[in-house]
Amino acid sequence: MRAGTTQVRLLALAAMAALALATAACAEDTPAGPGPGGTGAMKSGLKIAFLPKQVNNPYFTTSDNGGKAAVEEFGGKYTETGPSESSPSAQVSYINTLSQQKTDVIVVSANDKDAICGALNEARQAGAKVVTFDSDTNASCRDLFINQATAEGIAKIQIKLISQAIGADGGEIAILSATANATNQNAWIEMMKAELTKPEYAKLKLVDTVYGDDKDEKSFTETQALLAKHPSLKGIISPTTVGVAAAARYLSGSTFKGKVQLTGLGTPNQMRSFVKDGTVKAFALWNPADLGYLAAYAGGALASGMITGKEGDKFKAGKLGEFTVGKDATVLLGDPFTFTASNIEQFNF
């Protein structure tokens, strides 16, 4: 144990030495050789602006603070701006302002993938790099999109979490979805069905899929109906923040609490009390702070000319390690993040 710690310290020292060398190289204005994470080094003093869908929204406050931490790490200037209401075209005026301020990188979560396109392209013509996160624009209007999770990643973690919660004996499970025609929900459900065919999940049986329409009341009553209809139900997956919170509220106040397991995609603030009272053992989502952190590093790498956003480009994102640009100029954050009783207190969104 002690030896391990020493090793970590040595590694940290080595990393710091490397960093100091790199900084010295920059100061002397000698072009740094191609490192393992791309060519060149991060420019210092880059103006990096975060433009969330809405300011004063805990989710975006978390993601933008992640971005702020990253920008400070590589010596850039961080700003956050944005509308107080998430109406579709409200971001345009902020993009125009950022472009006039000669911002190097605009990191934006798009309220409307089309409406802000013209303004973003105008900003790019003026020299800004555009990175989208959380919610993408048309691919022609940005340099990179930081994707929080893939459909496959989400499906895998949902099945894994429900399987762990129910235990080795398995049993009947059901899905509480949003609306019946929601494209992303249906894609996830299909992926979950595929995941369930794997041998390790042979004892899990999906018996029903119901729709709460992302409305709290409807999700609540659908959960109630689901449990009445399937008396031997062992678990519910609700891959929607509204659904999972409503289902948790129903379960926690019913005799099914602790007997019927629940997981899904939720936010820590909504789920905190249900994790603490034992209704939910674990649920998933991405970590918005990491998402913002990665987006800032990606933007910095673009603006420093270390990457161009083409498939196969590699860059280092601080503590998160190395990332590779995938097709359609997207970068995947990684597997969804699992929230449990042991880590939920670290999050506020």
């Binding site: 107080s84 209401e85 109406s87 579709p88 345009v92 005026s93 301020q101 409307d112």
Partner: protein, 337 residues
């Protein structure tokens, strides 16, 4: 004209002047102190933002002067966007036809408001809060949560094309022409005088031979049509038709109208002041954004301005009144007192 009305006009005239002076002051101070305000791009962005607000503020000014209000304007705009989008999807590929259909539809939506207000004598505040929800709901019926965005590039660029040799979009000429029409109607015709009269006292106006119902009805029709026109511009400018386009815009319009010196109780106001205040709000907001003022502070500033706009003209009127009395009562009073 009564003594009081003349005083009110006087105070008002000076409020338009206050707005114009404030606009010039903000523009000059902004250009000198904030990097970027003096650039042509800044004024292009401000104009693009002000155009839809100005289009809707023209009829809104007249409506508020009669003592009514139309809060459904942003929903008419949103509904127009979705209808334009849906018609385009269905293959209507003539822009003039789309504009004509939109104007007609806007007029009908406005007529519904007008009918409820004048035909059934219901308060316009209640009626248009109702249609605010109703028209927005219809917009969602048309497009749901879909967006239509694949318009021809020629259309979307035509909406924001600058005047030759400048960065200012040509659509400003359309706004200017319409502003002249509304200004002439309001300030130089018997109809306009009738609007002030009914705002001051609808009963008295009716006895004086003003057709209050008819005038108000047509104002709501005009409001609907202008909101629809703004909707067409919105769709093309952002190349995006969505049911939630322009949500909350009615408040921006009402704010500009009130800050422009139009009394919320009716009977007072001038179009020049309103147009100046539309520009002032746009310039102030964009300039402060450029100066890195945070969004929350901006909201507080806009709110404070609105309060000032309600209090301001009254204070100006009150001061004038006091000054006038003092002059007439005590002509020998020393200037230092």
């Amino acid at each position: 004209m009564s003594d009081r009305a003349i005083r009110a006009r006087g105070a008002l005239g000076s409020w338009s002047a206050v707005m114009l002076v404030a606009l010039v002051a903000v523009a000059v101070v902004g250009s000198l102190t904030i990097d970027g305000v003096a650039s042509p791009r800044f004024w292009r962005f401000v104009t693009l933002e002000a155009i839809p607000i100005a289009l809707i503020a023209l009829p809104m000014t007249l409506i508020v002067i009669t003592g009514e209000i139309d809060l459904s304007v942003a929903s008419v705009l949103g509904l127009t966007c979705t209808v334009v989008g849906q018609l385009w999807v269905w293959g209507v590929s003539s822009l003039p036809a789309l504009i004509a259909i939109s104007l007609l539809m806007g007029a009908v939506l406005g007529a519904v408001n007008g009918l409820f207000v004048t035909g059934f004598g219901l308060p316009s505040l209640a009626v248009t809060i109702g249609t605010l929800a109703l028209y927005r709901g219809l917009a969602y019926v048309v497009l749901g949560d879909r967006a239509v965005a694949n318009y021809p590039v020629a259309w979307t660029t035509s909406a924001i094309k600058p005047l030759p040799g400048t960065t200012i979009p040509w659509v400003i000429l359309v706004v200017a022409a319409l502003a002249v029409i509304f200004a002439v109607v309001l300030h130089a015709t018997p109809i306009g005088r009738g609007l002030y009269a009914m705002g001051n006292n609808a009963e008295a106006a009716r006895f004086a031979g003003v057709n209050v119902r008819q005038a108000k009805f047509w104002l709501f029709v005009a409001s609907g049509a202008m909101s629809a026109l703004a909707g067409v511009f919105w769709t093309l400018r952002f190349a995006s038709a969505r049911a939630d386009n322009g949500t909350g815009l009615e408040l921006a319009v009402v704010a500009a109208v009130l800050l422009g010196g139009v009394s919320i109780f009716g009977g007072r106001g001038a179009l020049l002041g309103v147009l100046a205040s539309v520009c002032l709000l746009g310039v102030l907001r964009n300039a402060l954004q450029l100066a890195y003022v945070p969004e929350n502070t901006l909201t507080v500033i806009t709110g404070s301005l609105l309060i000032a706009s309600v209090v301001g003209p009254n204070v100006v009127g009150m001061l004038r009144e006091r000054l006038r009395r003092r002059r007439s009562n005590a002509p020998t009073v020393s200037p230092s007192s």
